[in-house]
């Protein structure tokens, strides 16, 4: 047996949406993390729960990047593709690197499946896979054989086949099978017969790798040298839920979370519903509007109130968000963005709700908006959102996206006792109380809650007097209130940290990004900087108010490229705010940026000094003026 050392590997598992590819990928990611690799994952699945078997649109995939050095993305292209059926092969082969390893479940390559996948001939036989290292394994058959003595039905036995592929890749990458076997038993503790069968099949896959001659090379990806400390593997939605619980604790308040089921935000509600022993109340509302309304009611009562949704749900919440802005109540609204418009691409990622977040309400209704850059960063953003909402008495929108919500990474656990507290105080002094009297520094009104004697008052959505809060239709008062609501948001800039800048404060190209594209953009910048190119990357965390740090540096670069997964929404803001002729690097495919795409676009901008060039799969707008 031969052992080969690699620095990093990108592997993708693909199969039917009922084939258990997400589980296989997640488990293999755990093994990589356990072995000390840096990891980044990218689950990519259809909106249909169990799409028709064998169909092209029903293919579910999970990509894992594991490495002995620091990584920021799930990898541009897989080095290894595990295809459980022809449809998976058909839709994913184009991404596999040339000469890459292909593990194919031949048992699924029957005529009916080939036909469904649109293959005229069997790719395993017609030579079309010659440029790859193909391992043809009849996983269907080997799974059934491993379970020959099992009393499960054939259908149930067949479902275990993903564990065969898991066992096989465990062998290929020298992973320790013992802890995985423990995890399988644990996961199926309530159905031990399934646990037993899955372990059998997992072992069969592992031993197949060991004995079949074709797998005589074991690849070792050595552990990454991390900073010392405690780590856990975490997805964006898990981290955001933890951040909310911790944020409420730092504010010294109870958390109330209301939501309506929507992809990809629902799992936050699932997590928080389990945290009842923290006093957290969760409320599955009858619709998105009610979820926002209930959050407002809870905020009015003095709770840390949070609601989450994705674009379509945020649209429904719009009027109630406006009420929160008018009545100046602290609510945190999470938008886990997905592809739009309308129902759009529910399970795919996009950054196309930025302008909705900034402007998607009637009237002049500014609100603070910040965006998380990675799964682990959602934790800190959630805390920051709670802090700003309560300090400035305003609804805050936190943007995440499907990519960081479902993707995972090793996360250095924070030292909770080191996080600064921001204890909330409710006014109780009834002397000379005016409902809209404001704090000098933050312009926030006092958060007076029902139950406080002597401070009974009325608030509502009608314009109100700038001091007393009584209904007022006076022209000057409305103008004053409109300005003060905007000024309050602008003042948040005083509590925003430093701009996240990779590279120097001046140079040839400044790439500006925001949200979940951080990993790809920063890696591209680092690659180019390593080649001596004068490229910097500013990653914007606060979009409203827009990071003050940008103003200081944006004119120091010959060229500004705004890279985002939309048609150029931040670019429009940048151009309008700074009057710079910013170029756009835009991709609207429901997929994250690849590092290669970003590098190509920047290089092109440097070479041609005119415009960023579209790569094969990304569209760089050549008509920025149309959007400005």
């Amino acid at each position: 047996m031969d052992t080969k050392h690699l620095d990093r590997v990108v592997i993708r598992f693909v199969g039917d949406s009922g084939d258990g590819m997400q589980l296989t990928g997640t488990e293999f990611a755990k093994a990589a993390a356990e072995a000390g690799n840096d990891i980044s994952t990218f689950p990519d699945f259809p909106a249909e729960i169990r799409a028709p078997a064998g169909s092209l649109f029903g293919v579910s995939g999970f990509q894992l990047h594991f490495s002995s050095s620091e990584i920021h993305t799930p990898g541009d292209a897989p080095d290894v593709l595990v295809a459980m059926n022809p449809a998976g092969l058909k839709t994913n082969l184009k991404d596999l690197v040339e000469g890459g390893t292909l593990i194919v479940n031949t048992g699924a390559f029957i005529e009916a499946n080939l036909k469904k996948a649109g293959y005229a001939s069997n790719p395993l036989e017609d030579g079309s896979l010659d440029k790859y290292k193909v391992h043809a394994v009849d996983i269907n058959h080997l799974t059934m054989a491993a379970l020959e003595t099992s009393e499960l039905s054939n259908k149930e036995k067949g479902r275990a086949k993903n564990f065969f592929s898991l066992g096989l890749v465990f062998w290929m990458y020298g992973r320790e099978p013992e802890s995985e076997i423990r995890r399988i038993y644990q996961q199926f503790a309530k159905k031990p017969e399934f646990g037993e069968a899955n372990v059998k099949v997992f072992k069969a896959g592992y031993h197949f790798g060991e004995t079949a001659e074709v797998f005589q090379t074991v690849y070792k990806v050595p552990a990454h040298v991390f900073k010392p400390g405690m780590y856990r593997n975490i997805t964006g939605n898990e981290a955001i839920a933890l951040g909310l619980v911790v944020g409420a604790e730092l504010a010294g308040k109870k958390l109330f979370y209301s939501g309506y089921p929507i992809t990809p935000a629902s799992s936050i509600l699932h997590s928080l519903a389990k945290y009842k022993n923290f006093g957290t109340l969760t409320f599955q509302a009858e619709d998105e509007i009610a979820a926002m309304g209930a959050a407002l009611g809870a905020a009015y009562g003095g709770s840390i109130a949070v609601t989450a949704s994705s674009g379509p749900g945020i649209a429904l919440k719009g009027e109630a968000i406006g009420l929160g802005i008018m009545t100046e109540l602290p609510v945190v609204i999470l938008n886990i963005q997905r592809g739009g418009p309308s129902t759009g691409l529910p399970t795919k990622t996009e950054q196309s709700d930025l302008l909705q977040a900034l402007y998607g309400r009637n009237g002049e209704s500014p609100m603070p908006v910040l965006a998380a850059k990675s799964p682990g960063d959602t934790f800190y953003c959630a805390i920051e959102a709670v802090k700003i909402a309560t300090r400035y008495m305003v609804p805050v929108m936190l943007l995440s996206d499907g990519y960081i919500a479902n993707g995972s990474e090793p996360w250095p656990l924070p030292n909770l006792s080191a996080l600064p507290r921001f204890e909330v105080v409710h006014r109780t002094n009834p002397d000379s109380y005016f409902v809209y009297e404001r704090d000098e520094r933050t312009l926030a009104r006092a958060w007076v809650i029902p139950g406080t004697p002597g401070l009974e008052h009325r608030i509502g959505g009608i314009e109100k007097d700038a001091l007393t809060g009584n209904i007022s239709y006076a022209p000057d008062n409305h103008e004053k209130q409109t300005h003060v609501r905007a000024d309050k948001i602008a003042r948040i800039a005083q509590d925003i940290g430093e701009l996240d800048l990779g590279g120097a404060e001046s140079g040839d190209v400044l790439v500006i990004g925001w949200g979940g594209t951080y990993g790809a953009l920063r890696q591209a910048q680092q690659q180019l900087a390593a080649q001596g190119k004068l490229v910097s990357h500013a990653h914007v965390r606060w979009l409203s108010p827009l990071e003050p740090g940008l103003a200081k540096i944006i004119k120091n670069f010959k060229r500004v490229i705004v890279a985002e997964l939309n048609m150029g929404q931040l670019r429009m803001m940048i151009r309008a705010t700074f009057l710079v002729d910013a170029l756009g690097l835009n991709k609207i495919q429901g997929l994250p940026f690849k590092v290669r795409e970003v590098v190509d676009a920047i290089e092109h901008a440097i070479e041609h000094q005119v415009d960023a060039k579209p790569t094969e799969s990304t569209a760089v707008s050549t008509q920025p003026q149309a959007l400005a």
């Binding site: 993390a33 356990e34 000390g36 552990a223 040298v225 991390f226 010392p228 400390g229 405690m230 780590y231 856990r232 593997n233 933890l242 619980v245 109870k254 109330f256 209301s258 945290y275 009842k276 022993n277 923290f278 006093g279 957290t280 109340l281 409320f283 509302a285 009858e286 619709d287 509007i289 009610a290 979820a291 926002m292 309304g293 209930a294 407002l296 009611g297 809870a298 905020a299 009015y300 009562g301 003095g302 709770s303 109130a305 109630a320 406006g322 009420l323 009545t327 656990l413 909770l416 029902p450 139950g451 004697p453 002597g454 009974e456 008052h457 009325r458 509502g460 959505g461 009608i462 209904i471």
Partner: protein, 345 residues
């Protein structure tokens, strides 16, 4: 201190300093006065009382109460009240809504608040018209209602608020009219005591856009309404007429008495607030012009409230798992340590 030692609350204590902006002659004035008077009699704590409303004429109500008040957006008051009451069970929460606000744009929140048995009191002012938007027909308007939006008459069947509340699962359902301060006071007292979702249909006159729509009920209480009384037969018109159940459970109006052609009172349906939902549904079907309209408490039932159950789940979780430990929570799942050498331990 004067507030705390004051023995008795008066109606005046519950009046806010705001100018009341309803049209002259609006039924809302009488409702406001009765609510203020009754809550003063009950001796509520002003600071623990919150009025939440949506949009519409009736929804201006909170501004005039010297309690906490939240004038929200169209139709959403039950949703906002839900978030408030679940997180603040110590507060008394009242929702003020109308037939357009509560049954049209906010119908969904209405049914779900009732279904969950949210522990707050919903008073729906039913004037069968949109007032604030200048007189369009509403979901409770009679068929054929001529309004700016229906110049040739409305063609949709009206919604029965009591049937809706029953179907949705309200646990206290009552009806009163703006002109009957006495009955309104009794119902408010009973509603205040009830734990769970209260639904009160308040028949209210809009003198500008739908004047006299409840005229029959008010001017001829003897003939057009049944004053519901616990354990008493459903009789009206001075006891001379009553409701008897015919074949197919069709309510029949009969002459009550022992003479020829009359029905003995023993055959008249007897009212009980804690009857079945089927009986309450029957009451809900008694609508004008075919029947006299039942006034009073139609239905009452005790069920755990959403808030109680939610709090119970929190208590249970704490009893079972112990008070939440944030460090433990953070360190759950797959956790590992990286040592000084940068590798995993």
């Amino acid at each position: 201190m004067s507030e705390a030692v004051k023995l008795k609350l008066s109606k005046k204590d519950l009046e806010s300093d705001q100018d009341v902006r309803w049209c002259p002659g609006c039924g809302d004035y009488a409702i406001l006065a009765t609510v203020q008077r009754t809550l003063a009699q009950i001796g509520i704590k002003r600071e623990n009382t919150v009025f939440v409303s949506g949009i519409g004429c009736s929804s201006r109500f909170p501004y005039y109460m010297n309690t906490y008040g939240f004038h929200t957006i169209h139709g959403r008051a039950p949703a906002i009240a839900s978030g408030l009451k679940v997180t603040r069970p110590d507060l008394d929460v009242w929702v003020i809504t109308g037939d357009g606000d509560g049954l049209s744009i906010g119908g969904n929140h209405m049914i779900h608040a009732l279904r969950r048995n949210m522990d707050f009191k919903i008073i729906l002012f039913n004037n069968q018209i949109y007032g604030l938007t200048k007189g369009q027909y509403s979901p409770t308007s009679a068929m054929g209602t001529r309004a700016p939006s229906t110049p040739t008459g409305s063609i949709d069947h009206p919604l029965n608020p009591i049937s809706l509340a029953l179907g949705a699962g309200a646990t206290f359902i009552a009806r009163a009219a703006d002109t009957d301060a006495k009955l309104m006071g009794v119902i408010l007292q009973e509603a205040y005591k009830h734990k769970g979702a209260v639904f009160i249909e308040m028949l209210q006159n809009c003198p500008v856009f739908n004047d006299g729509v409840w005229e029959g009920v008010k001017d001829d209480p003897a003939g057009k309404q049944i004053a519901l009384a616990e354990g008493k037969p459903l009789v009206f018109a001075g006891g001379t007429k009553g409701i008897k159940l015919g074949a197919g459970m069709v309510p029949q109006i009969v002459d009550v008495g022992d003479g020829p052609g009359q029905t003995p009172v023993s055959e008249i349906v007897v009212h009980t607030e804690r009857g079945s939902a089927l009986y309450a549904s029957l009451l809900a079907q008694l609508v004008m012009p075919d029947y006299p309209i039942p006034m009073g408490v139609l239905y009452r039932n005790d069920k755990p409230t959403y808030g109680e159950l939610a709090a119970q789940q929190v208590d249970d979780a704490i009893a079972k798992q112990g008070t939440g430990d944030l460090n433990k929570l953070m360190y759950s799942g797959m956790v590992w340590e990286v040592g000084a050498d940068g590798t995993r331990h």
